[in-house]
Assembly symmetry: C2
Homo-oligomer: 371 residues x 2
């Protein structure tokens, strides 16, 4: 017994000793002020990789987490689940990667591996999934996970994806969330050439959805609340842009679409979109407003507009994320990014611009500028 | 011009002259008091049939219409859209029926015939559908349609279905609404042997859903709010009965079912059922509470329980209604009915019992007792 305790003590001590120093930017309360933060990550285990982070995207859901829009959160919090970087260390059992490879990390860094969802390669629906940040990692003493607004990250190789060498690396990070979140349901419902489809909300997620569906040959209508994005929608291949504040734009769209994906992060009327679905059409919800501003669908609406389906979708499994990444690079589908410096005041300012609708599509933090 | 006017006048006069006298029971306001009512129906046109009504079911939606639970209504109103009877007259172009045949009528008596929904044999989703009652018939000078709590009905043969001679006629009427409303989505989603499925609300529609899914070999769990129906659920083949007011009954059901059909006509928590769906599971809404008591689903729930779908379904097309009727008779699947007399006070009383949850499954009015 004494021996066991001693071994356990040394093992823990060694694990503590080998923890990886990390630095980045955290918020220390819901006030949204980013400041430099130093912390440690768990040691590189036998199946783990350590990635030096080069780019981190700012997702609207990062803003929701920081502001506690969905739930009470733990601080300090380092957000960031759109991560692209280069591997600097691998554990002895790692086979998928070697030092020097490019790798990406999205919203998850682990899951139970045993439930139905995990067995179906849909780890995002595992009830024990470990999120990249704002999560407690049951595989590492329930340590609080910290995200990609930092210089490095350590995780099991299983939850990292390979970034092709010919990728436009500075644009890859947002594919890990905005890309897969739209790619997954679009491919799950089988959008195909000639389909009349819609994208509600033309921001980070929305402009990826447009590109994926245009690539499939669908006729894409884009919905947003501003005139500022009309030209961008056409440029990305949409056949129609609807400013929903303009009643004229909305005419003639009821019962016309086979699929609409809603990426809207603010309050809106979901039934307006359900009415645009033709028979057997589907509305997929991927964008989420703050809980207090989240709209509802009264269930009789489903009956009055019978034969149309509504579902939600979360990111995608790791296997599908790799497929999405390979597909995106092969088809030159990337987010449109505005690069910002790794600096507390700059990130704080970027968040405010996201809230004010002043970011067109996606901010990406150039983590190589971290001092 | 004069000639045309004269022809039009005589045509109208003849049509008026040949109108069919009808008598039944109507409510004259939302007070729910049924009283004898005499009126006329349009003449039997070349494609029409006249049915002497033998049985008329009382559907919960009749109660909603009478009480104006969903919308303002026109009175006097003769409800009834679960109709079984015998043909007494046929127009000269009628081919599907002959005098003496048994025929059934459900919720619709006509539709445009030209839209996508009509072309797909899903006339219930035609935006110009003519309902059996509470509707204005654009094919007959927008006359106000009156339903099955009456001695006869006249409609195009296209919207009547053939009742097999070996049917248990006194039980057939509720199949025309409660039967098809459950049969249609159950077959559309492809419920099959071994599937774990649920039926929420074990009344007129619910007890049909149980029988259809048991017949397909599914493992059916029934949900209701009373202990009174526990034995009935088991008797009809359910493997489990859940009294949702009993927290113990609800344990262990999350993420287990591939399909749940909700027939509940009162307020409830739809998210409780969405949580019971496993990945790719579907919740179908067919029951509707009064608008004021209709629950909503906040759209973030779709995302948190991603990969599950919600849809509504209305009855079924005429072709599918015929298929359902043939299938039900061939498989001895019928509603459990309580027969009541065609009498104003009796119907009024039956409505109150429906509202009080005192009818077990379905009242059917024996229209042959009409005096």
């Amino acid at each position: 017994m004494t021996l066991l305790w001693t071994v356990a003590f040394f093992t823990t001590a060694i694990a503590q000793e080998n923890r990886i120093p990390s630095k980045g930017f955290a918020v220390f309360s819901a006030d949204g002020q980013f400041k430099p933060y130093e912390f440690t990550r768990h040691a590189v285990g036998d199946n783990d990789i350590e990635i030096r982070i080069l780019y981190a995207g700012i997702c609207h859901s990062d803003v929701h987490h920081v502001r506690q829009d969905w739930a009470k959160e733990q601080f300090p919090m380092v957000p960031g689940h759109e991560i692209a970087g280069r591997i600097v260390k691998v554990g002895k059992n790692v086979t998928k990667f070697k030092v020097g490879d490019l790798a990406g990390v999205g919203c998850m860094i682990n899951s139970c591996g045993e439930c139905e969802a995990c067995k179906e390669n849909r780890e995002q629906y595992c009830s024990n999934v470990v999120y990249t940040y704002h999560s407690h990692d049951q595989f590492h003493d329930y340590e609080f996970t910290q995200g990609g607004y930092s210089n490095n990250i350590v995780l099991t190789e299983k939850f990292a994806v390979k970034i092709p060498d010919n990728a436009k690396l500075e644009k890859v990070a947002p594919l890990l969330c905005a890309g897969i979140t739209t790619y997954s349901p679009i491919h799950a419902v089988g959008v195909k050439k000639g389909d009349k489809v819609g994208v509600a909300g033309f921001g980070g997620l929305g402009h990826m959805a447009v590109q994926y569906m245009v690539a499939l040959g669908a006729q894409v209508t884009v919905f947003d609340i501003t005139e500022n994005k009309r030209a961008d929608a056409k440029r990305l291949g949409a056949i129609r842009y609807v400013n929903v504040n303009n009643p004229e734009d909305l005419k003639g769209l009821d019962n016309t679409m086979s699929f609409i994906i809603s990426t809207i992060p603010a309050n809106y009327d979901p039934y307006m979109y359900i009415k645009m679905l033709k028979l057997d059409g589907q509305l997929c919800i991927v964008g989420l407003p703050a809980t207090a501003n989240t709209p509802s669908i009264r269930i009789d609406k489903f009956v009055w507009q019978g034969g149309r389906k509504v579902f939600g979708s979360q990111i995608g499994g790791i296997k599908e994320t790799q497929e999405m990444l390979d597909y995106s690079v092969a088809n030159n589908i990337y987010p449109e990014v505005e690069m910002i410096k790794a600096d507390g005041a700059t990130i704080t300012d970027a968040y405010q611009k996201v809230l004010d609708g002043k970011v067109k599509f996606r901010y990406v933090i150039d983590m190589s500028t971290l001092k």
